[in-house]
């Protein structure tokens, strides 16, 4: 055994030195691989720092699935929410604030959304909307809403159901209106506007209930 006693004790003793060898590349690669999987794992299970999420649950939506559900229409409205994100949120935004700079009015605090009867909503979703419209005291005239409802995939029955779902979600979420719009009702309204061609205007809508 190499004994340290062969060296003189005290300040004369040689202190260790260090060489500047580089870190092996594979170690760095391993670090990044682990970081990647760590982030992925956290994204899957971590609940994104939400203090309400405890193991074994993973996220807030995950928790929501296990909440006792007393609302029979929840699934229908959730379906509407999904469709809204896919079809309407580009213009009206996920939060419903709209995009006033591009002539796209908000759905929040809109008398059109708060309107008791769903017919106008069904109509404008089906065929789109153009021309001046007053929303919450402001006139919007520069934009045109496309016939989003008509271009939804599916036959007439499916379209009506989807439009009813979207309308239900918008009315509940932005209009605080209870209940849902029945697909049958949407179908009936759509049957009534079968002969109308082109976009609606605000004036057209006012004639409906």
């Amino acid at each position: 055994m190499k004994t340290e006693t062969s060296q003189p004790t005290g300040t004369g003793e040689i202190e260790p030195t260090v060489t500047m060898t580089a870190i092996p590349v594979w170690l760095m690669a391993l670090l990044f691989v682990l970081l990647f999987f760590g982030a992925w794992y956290f994204d899957l299970y971590g609940g994104w720092f939400d203090a309400r999420v405890y193991a074994p649950y993973r996220s807030v939506p995950d928790l929501a699935r296990y909440q006792p559900n007393s609302d029979p229409d929840a699934n229908f409205v959730a379906f509407g929410k999904k469709l809204y994100s896919e079809n309407c949120a580009v213009c009206h935004m996920e939060t419903g604030v709209g995009n006033p700079a591009n002539g796209c009015p908000p759905l929040i605090d809109s008398e059109w959304v708060h309107h008791e009867a769903p017919d106008r909503m069904i109509m404008l979703i089906s065929r789109g909307l153009t021309g001046p419209i007053t929303v919450n005291g402001k006139v919007y005239n520069t934009g045109t809403m496309l016939a989003v409802g008509d271009s939804l995939p599916g036959d007439e029955k499916e379209k009506s159901a989807k439009i009813a779902a979207i309308a239900s979600y918008v009315r509940r979420h932005f209009g605080e209106l209870p209940g849902v719009v029945k697909p049958d009702h949407a179908e009936a309204v759509r049957a009534g506007i079968k002969d109308h061609s082109g976009y609606f205007t605000a004036e057209d809508l006012m004639k409906a209930p």
Partner: protein, 474 residues
Amino acid sequence: MTATTLPSPGPIDRSCRSPLFALFGGAAGWLALSSAFGLAAAMTFHNPALLAGCSVLTFGRAYPAWAHLFIYGFGVPTALGAGLWLLARLGRIKAMNPALITVGAKLWHVGVLVGLLGIVTGDSSGFEWLELPRYAAVILFLAFMLMTVWLFMTFSWRAEPRLYPSQWFVLAAVFWFIWIFSTAVFLLQMHPVRGVVQAAVAWWFAGNLLNVWLPLAGLAVTFYVLPKLSGKPLHSYYLALFIFVTVALFGSWTGMPVQAPLPAWMGIFSSTAAALMVVPALALGILVVKTSGGGDQPPCFGGVLCFAKFGAFMLILATLLAAVAACPVMARVTEFTWFTEGQVLLRLYGFFAMTLFAAVYHILPRISGREISPRRVRAHFWLAMPGSLLLALPLLAGGVRQGLRLADAAVPFQETARAAVLWVRISTLGETLIALGALVYLANVGWLILSHYRALLKREMTDALAWQPVEVKS
């Protein structure tokens, strides 16, 4: 074994003498006492009735007393002493104000004693690794600050401007301790936070203590002793820096069990961090092998170098085990079983204690000017090394077994608990070896310190005797 007297210590080593005697000497005593409490705690598993008549030796008090004495009695002062010497040696400067450091060291031991008395009389705080009551914590904190002020002074007045990795590790360890200890004492004992946050703080403290502070304080020694004793430079500056940064970064997130009743992100984040600790562990492996490995190295028979090398490998093993246990599949089995305990004990005895022994056996002969017989060091090694393995490995294996049985609804809980006792039996054997090793250590350290004073006394006497005739003659 050649000479028993070394060339007399240089001024730097002399300046460290009184603080290090106080720190190392007291710590060696606490370690022996801690092992005794550890054995008493283990006895409850084998014969619960044996010590039941004595409240001090019941599990609820002996176990915290063991933990308290190991960390605060043995670990912190020994690491601090080694750190002081490293800063002085590597900075080529005498320790600043050694007298005050010595006072701090004695105050520290008083604090440990007060804490111990508090714990055995039932005043323990109930937080793991922070069992000491808060009045003891205040004493410890003051003593620590008193010592570290002069540690920093020694560092900042150093004559050698170039830094060696050990210096960062020592300084970071000191800062880390101040930070986590004060935070934990404040949030758990002074102004206790409430509810879930309390558990989170306690786990945060334990994680930082075990997974950041121990590695920082221990590796400072490893990175000094390995290259010095194997006569080669430390393999890589960048790897050392890499270990330093990653341990501080990832280690500080570890500690929260995945299945703990805490918001999910805490446990998930923690286990991710534990998995990431694999990287510094591998880096350490490269560093150790490249620095002290190679054909020209003599085989390890139990010298100072063996302590340091074994310690480093056990840190790697413990870190890998912790990473494996952090995987969700494993965590479901091993969490809250003996496995965790085994991993922690491997870290404490296999890595930390062994590394500190290396430091003390390296440093003490230099500052006392007395050589210690390699036989005595070897005797200690061959008790402590198998002891730490026998202590930890059965618990690791038993923990997995226990976890699998706990998950099996067909096995009654009683039976699982009873089956685990077998593993605990083997591990108590290891603990006994460790306790014997601690006695040898105490004897070694005591012998070195006392023989220094004996030599001093003898020199005084001969001086006095030699002086008189001269006086007569003149």
